[in-house]
Subunit: 210 residues, 2 copies
DNA sequence: ACCTTTGACAAACAAGTGTTAGCTGAACGA
DNA sequence: TCGTTCAGCTAACACTTGTTTGTCAAAGGT
């Protein structure tokens, strides 16, 4: 059955609410300080109308975070095979440039996720941590496959992936309030740091120790 | 001239206010959601009395952040020479265990710093970023000296330090809501990741590339 | 001893908060 | 066509917020 007029309008209004909330957070404001009436005003709705779409403010926040997770996921997803075929140097380049593009397009998403990862709201925190763990797991799996395809063994893929994400997120946070020029420098640094990490993983796999 | 009764009492009250604010944030609450009257209630003061110690709420927040920066600084400071003498493996151990101890004692400080690093308040953000940059710079200088003392050259110390801090902070965030047992595992992971990084720096210095 | 300073206070202000109750009018299913 | 559903509205409740004003009593300075 096709979508009725009412259903379409309701869905659109719901999206307008989420969009308004995101707009209000563009200045870097936290999710905690976001008011229901403020969101309603931003999208030209009566305050109480929001309750037709979300049972309470927490639900709105969770929906917001969910949409951020979705966009992060979409942005960092890529065809698995390519990672394996292009080799480690280009894989690092690809990873960084993909992340930089995500930051340029959805910097406020990223800010929200990192902020709420340490927020007081347990539901939000768990949701985000699960998402980030998925990111690490996928990257680890890719590292394993890429290493195996080249005949390598023993690289601690899980730790390498976790450290790689930490490095990228660290750079990402710095990029958030940097100019476009400064961002390019920071991206270059991130690339170098990741290369260092991969070299270290390789050294460790071949039995080298400190 | 010795401290008068009034001066001492004022200083003590000021500290009581800051302590109350920190207590209220123990559950992981953000600085934004902290109310003046709430803080006043927590330390048995009239709401308006706080204005005798801080011109406004922003000043209170800044004082809070300053005290967090101070404690982070104290916790991570150490005798410079030891880092150079003990060699890279123990240096990594020392760094991690120092950071873990800091997290155990001042986990909420750390949470506050990481949260506000991305907050909307520019003054807070800048203050924290300056502090973290100092941390990176000091670590980089130590790496340079340690490498030089062992006759190494060409290690990209600045990038290595930045990546190391990113790795530690990433682990730290995960540790914040982990049990003591899980924290030990995470610390072990951080150690491994840092070792990987140092090995990579060494490889890179000797001309190895991906 | 006397006057000034000042930390703490209660009362009030204007505005904000999340949420509930009840109404209206347009879209819907029959 | 007629009754039902329901998104959006206004009004209200019971708070909370940061801040200003003015009072009061204790400590400080002379």
């Amino acid at each position: 059955m096709a979508e009725t007029v009412r259903q379409r309008q309701k869905r659109q209004t719901r999206e307008r609410i989420l969009a308004a909330a995101r707009t209000l957070m563009e200045g870097g404001r936290g999710l905690d300080s976001l008011g229901l009436r403020e969101v309603a005003r931003e999208c030209g709705l009566a305050a109480t109308s929001i309750y037709n779409h979300f049972p309470d403010m927490d639900a709105l926040g969770l929906a917001l975070i969910d949409s951020c997770c979705f966009r992060l996921r979409s942005a960092m997803e890529y065809e698995r095979r390519s990672m394996i075929e292009i080799g480690p140097a280009q894989a690092v380049d690809e990873l960084v440039s993909r992340f930089v593009r995500y930051l340029n397009e959805h910097g406020n998403d990223f800010r929200l996720l990192v902020q709420q990862r340490l927020g007081s709201h347990d539901r939000y925190r768990l949701r985000i941590q699960r998402e980030l763990q998925l990111l690490v797991d996928e990257l680890a799996e890719d590292v394993r496959q890429a290493v195996a395809a080249r005949g390598g063994v023993g690289v601690p893929a899980e730790q390498e992936a976790e450290a790689a994400i930490a490095i990228m997120f660290g750079s990402g946070i710095s990029m958030l309030d940097s100019s476009a020029a400064a961002r390019r420098v920071l991206a270059e640094h991130a690339r170098l740091q990741l290369q260092m990490l991969v070299l270290g993983g390789r050294a460790m796999a071949s039995g080298e120790r400190l």
